[in-house]
């Protein structure tokens, strides 16, 4: 299936997504990767507010290249999500609904997705230039000292994403390769 959706996603929109579906996502998303996640955990430990409203949020694991003159952002493809596995369950339990990145997630993250009816969307790893074209505005909102790892507020339009893990625990990184390998067996 293909969906055109706008953040924040409703409970109904989230629950109908299935691993392998395409989503063209528009609206506001926030960027955070390793260093920003670590600081977010420190904020929570100290009882301080996070840089953005985590409830119903979409977080994109990206460290873009600097924007050349005339562009809002440089190359902006996803980074490997697995490095955020240590942090994601806590954020999902606080209401974050969408994670955008690439690559496999831990069992703990998958369980947190199911528990909170969230979704993990895969952006095209290495397609930094194409993803850049989907970003309509970008602004650093926190931790500028982290450079490419600073937290940014992005407005995106029709960002092409694949549902990687859905709210029922469907997982493209397992079902995709299995479906292909099964097709080989059937062919024989």
């Amino acid at each position: 299936m293909e969906y055109r959706l706008k953040t924040p996603l409703s409970r109904e929109e989230l629950s109908k997504l299935r691993a392998g579906d395409m989503v063209y996502l528009s609206g506001v998303i926030y960027t955070a990767r390793d260093a920003a996640h670590k600081r977010m955990m420190e904020c929570l430990d100290r009882g301080e507010p996070l840089p953005f409203e985590i409830r119903d949020s979409a977080v994109y694991y990206v460290g873009p290249t600097p924007e050349p003159p005339g562009r809002v952002i440089g190359s902006a493809g996803p980074t490997t999500s697995g490095r955020m596995d240590a942090y994601s369950p806590r954020l999902l339990d606080l209401g974050q609904k969408i994670m955008i990145g690439k690559g496999m997630r831990s069992k703990e993250v998958l369980e947190a997705i199911v528990r909170n009816a969230g979704v993990y969307l895969a952006a095209m790893g290495g397609a930094g230039a194409l993803m850049s074209a989907c970003v309509k505005s970008a602004r650093v909102i926190c931790w500028e000292d982290l450079g490419c790892e600073a937290v940014r507020r992005l407005e995106v339009e029709d960002m092409p994403l694949t549902v990687a893990i859905d709210s029922l625990g469907g997982n493209i990184y397992e079902s995709g390769p299995t479906a292909y390998l099964d097709s080989l067996k059937e062919g024989k």
């Binding site: 050349p68 690439k102 230039a129 292909y180």
Partner: protein, 287 residues
């Protein structure tokens, strides 16, 4: 300059080296080598699985978009691995290492490339200019300097592995380790990957061999027919794993396996696997 009877030294300035490195950093990040672009287009044409074909189509479009938009192909513009084949009859005026790092600094600034290097592995403060580069110098006969810049992304670098196998493990052991490394990496290193394999040498040399293997254009097989066949065997096995482009399933898990070898100890069989993503970058210049 005369450095003795009959020996003519070629002079190169630090500035010439910096300018070359800066240009190579920008070029490598915006424009993929012909062999990689060719292999991606071929994979797209021959991929039998529709999801995988569609994924490869997007990745090929991204390569074109980067050129059109003058943007890096991938936002991880890497740690700059700089390989220098330095002619022994070249005299460098200035500090070579500083010259290379100045080139990286300039290239990453002027090319709007991402600064992804931290000064210390545990205290993790960004150096702000993507220096230092990872520099490898090889002394060769002649009076020229050939520079190759390989911006190495860490999505794939992180999935690389090294093993000190036993001689009894043999070809099968090596093959199993390489295929298993790619399998374990799964979707994470942005497949389709290029697999650089080092076999032999010592603990440190084998890792260097695996990286060096990524410098060879991927349509060229190892010149030793035994290893050329092993490259093809491993590629065939890897492309039966089903991981596919982006790990969404499909045939094209790897574009190529490149093996480099060197003599080793009677007691050892070191193997290293350096994985590179579909954005396998390199750019060279001869001075």
């Amino acid at each position: 300059m005369n450095c003795g009877p009959g020996i003519a030294m070629r002079r190169l300035t630090a500035e010439e080296i910096s300018a070359a490195v800066a240009e190579l950093c920008i070029r490598a990040n915006r424009q993929l080598p012909e062999d990689i672009v060719g292999a991606m287009n071929d994979a797209k044409t021959s991929e039998p699985w529709p999801v995988a074909e569609a994924t490869l189509e997007v990745l090929c479009r991204n390569i074109e978009a980067a050129g059109d938009m003058e943007l890096p192909v991938c936002q991880d513009t890497g740690m700059a691995c700089v390989f220098a084949s330095l002619g022994q009859d070249v005299h460098i005026e200035g500090d070579f290492k500083q010259a290379v790092n100045e080139g990286v600094r300039r290239g990453y600034e002027q090319g709007y490339l991402r600064k992804s290097v931290v000064a210390d592995p545990l205290r993790r403060v960004n150096t702000g200019d993507n220096t230092p580069a990872a520099i490898t110098v090889e002394l060769v006969p002649g009076d020229s300097l050939e520079l190759t810049v390989v911006p190495k992304g860490f999505g794939s670098e992180n999935m690389s592995r090294l093993a000190m196998l036993k001689p009894a493990d043999g070809v099968e052991g090596v093959k199993r380790f390489v295929v298993d490394t790619v399998k374990t990496a799964g979707a994470n290193p942005c497949p389709p990957v290029v697999v650089g394999v080092g076999i032999g040498g010592t603990f440190d040399k084998v890792a260097a061999l695996a990286k060096q293997a990524l410098l060879r254009p991927i349509h060229q097989r190892n010149q030793d027919e035994f290893y050329a066949r092993l490259e093809e065997d491993m590629l065939r096995e890897i492309n039966l794993l089903g991981i596919g482009p982006q790990g969404f399933g499909g045939r094209t898990t790897a574009l190529a396996v490149n093996i480099e070898t060197m003599p080793t100890h009677v007691a050892g069989l070191p193997v290293a696997v350096n994985i590179s993503c579909h954005v396998t970058r390199r750019a060279s210049m001869k001075l």
